[in-house]
Amino acid sequence: MNRYTRRTLALEMLMIAVAVAFAFPVYVLVNLAFRAPSDTSSPIAPTRSPTWGNFLQAWQEGGLGGALINSVLVTTVSVLIVLAVSSLAAYPLARSTAHWSRGAFLLIMLGLVLPFQLAALPLYQTVRDLGLLGSVWSLVLFYSGLQVPFTTFLYAGFLRALPRDFEEAATIDGCGPLTAFRYVILPMLKPITVTALVLNAVSVWNDFFTPLLYLSGSDQQTMPVAVAGFVGQFVSDWNLIFAALLISIVPVLAVYLALQRSIINGFAGGLKG
């Protein structure tokens, strides 16, 4: 852009100061997570003799290992299902101009406006009657349906902007619709698939309300409910709680830092449809 002037330097200092203010809570989080419970000095004073003790105890007593595995399982399986069914559905919805197609698309888009709170309680009853309460598979089923409208919306918008030439050529060459989808359409959908993957994975991984309803009191937990259960158990033992919070954040931040470009672009660009 422009040259680096004295004003740019001043702006740089200001922005760094703002970033430091934003990071302040994280400093306290790390600072206290490494502090022995017996140390009662000010939360903002650097911890003098850091210890791993809180992390060991939180890991052992919080069932965080199991929760981590469950979160990985639920997120992976449900996001794969959502991407598969939504991309497949978006193909005819974006291409066909028949009445049923427009109607079906509008029906699915209705799901973008309906807050999930409306469906939550009746669905809770269904899940209970199916005997799925306390099972992580209830969550897989839930997210596989809940994320359909948004993901189909992303795919349909992207597909409408794609030329039809390739699939028409494939059809002339004798490809069936499923083969054309698999080998011609799907590869072209890669950019929007990355976006959809990122947005779905973050919202499924972080969701708290649904597992709170479906998994309460069971021994199967995802990370957010395990953390909440931990806080309920160790009420004011904050050094321990902070260690648990930090354990739950580290995998997410590691993935974020490794894939920051795709993740930020996914959030920034994906919503333009």
Binding site: M1, N2, R3, T8, L11, E12, M15, V18, A19, F24, P25, V28, L29, S42, P43, I44, L88, A89, P92, S96, A98, S101, A104, I108, G111, V113, P115, Q117, L118, A119, A120, L121, P122, Q125, T126, L141, S144, G145, L146, V148, P149, E167, E168, A169, P177, A180, F181, F208, F209, P224, A228, V231, I241, F242, L245, I249, V252, I264, A268, L271
Partner: protein, 297 residues
């Protein structure tokens, strides 16, 4: 009548491609939502298969229920406050980061980071920071501002604003990222042309940048309004709706009424009210902002 048109291979993909998505969507969203609308007019307790249709009783009861009215008010207040503050701050951050400064990439990654963390986790973190002996009060003491110390979450007049503050802290970077994408889509020539014409930076922002940011603003406002209206995790984690009912939102009240009081019918009636609010606001927002966007472009 088609004449002279080349025979195009119009193999419209078959309808059954939509079937798996439709079935899942119907099972998880459509059917339960429809049942929800029906239950809102009943006295269902969540367990008993015998329940009665009671017409508008749940809604008239709501009109006489100070907790419910207060929760609806809090929900609207939170949504508006978050939208204004998060987007205001997000825009300032975007304008600061999207410049010639050297740390811009690092700042973008750092400021966006809170948005990928679970809300319930940041809620517990801040519950401690804002506690009587928490880091915020310690920081104030360290700065010699002892008189500013507060019981931030224990004071009914402050607690709601603290929740707003935490949401803004978590998602200002998210708004920023969308605004940066908007800023980068504005051709440089526009600014150069305006600069050559002798336009100052403020005027340039107002006349060149602002109108072209309309699409980014539309997305940001939609996201923050809807996120604010549905807010649950932050309230649950920071205050549990307290002190008293000072920070209850529609979503926390739905949860409490259903799972601690067993009033499923009433709770679903609250969800129906939330649905109407969300639908009305998204519809009007869509119309207004779309019009602005068209006018601006």
């Amino acid at each position: 009548m088609k004449r002279f048109s080349a025979p195009r291979a119009h193999a419209a993909p078959p309808w059954w491609f939509t079937a798996p998505a439709m079935l899942l969507f119907a099972f998880v969203v459509l059917i339960p939502s429809a049942r929800g609308v029906y239950y809102a007019f009943t006295d269902w307790d969540g367990l008993d298969p015998d329940f009665a249709f009671i017409g508008l009783d749940n809604f008239t009861a709501m009109a006489d229920d100070p907790d419910a009215l207060q929760a609806i008010w809090h929900t609207l207040l939170i949504a508006v406050a978050i939208t204004v503050l998060q987007n205001g701050l997000g825009l300032l951050l975007a304008l600061g980061v999207n410049t010639a400064i050297k740390s811009r990439n690092l700042l973008r990654v750092l400021l966006f980071a809170p948005a990928v963390v679970a809300q319930i986790v940041t809620a517990y973190l801040w519950r401690n920071l804002l506690g009587p002996d928490g880091a915020v009060n310690s920081l104030l003491a360290g700065l010699g501002l002892d008189s500013w110390q507060q019981n931030w979450l224990g004071d009914p007049d402050l607690a709601l604003w603290m929740i707003v503050l935490v949401v803004v802290w978590q998602y200002a970077g998210y708004s920023m990222v969308i605004f940066i994408a908007g800023l980068q889509s504005i051709p440089k020539e526009f600014h150069e042309a305006a600069a050559i014409d002798g336009t100052g930076p403020v005027r340039r922002f107002w006349s060149v940048t602002r109108p072209l940011l309309a699409p980014a603003l539309t997305i940001n406002v939609m996201l923050s309004v809807i996120g604010g209206l549905k807010l649950f995790d932050q309230v649950y984690g920071m205050t549990g709706g307290g002190p008293g009912h000072a920070t209850d939102t529609i979503s926390t009240l739905i949860y409490k009424d259903a799972f601690t009081l067993g009033e499923f019918g009433y709770s679903i009636a609250l969800a129906a009210v939330l649905t109407v609010i969300v639908a009305a606001i998204s519809a009007s927002q869509y119309t207004v902002l779309n019009r602005n966007e068209k006018a601006a472009s």
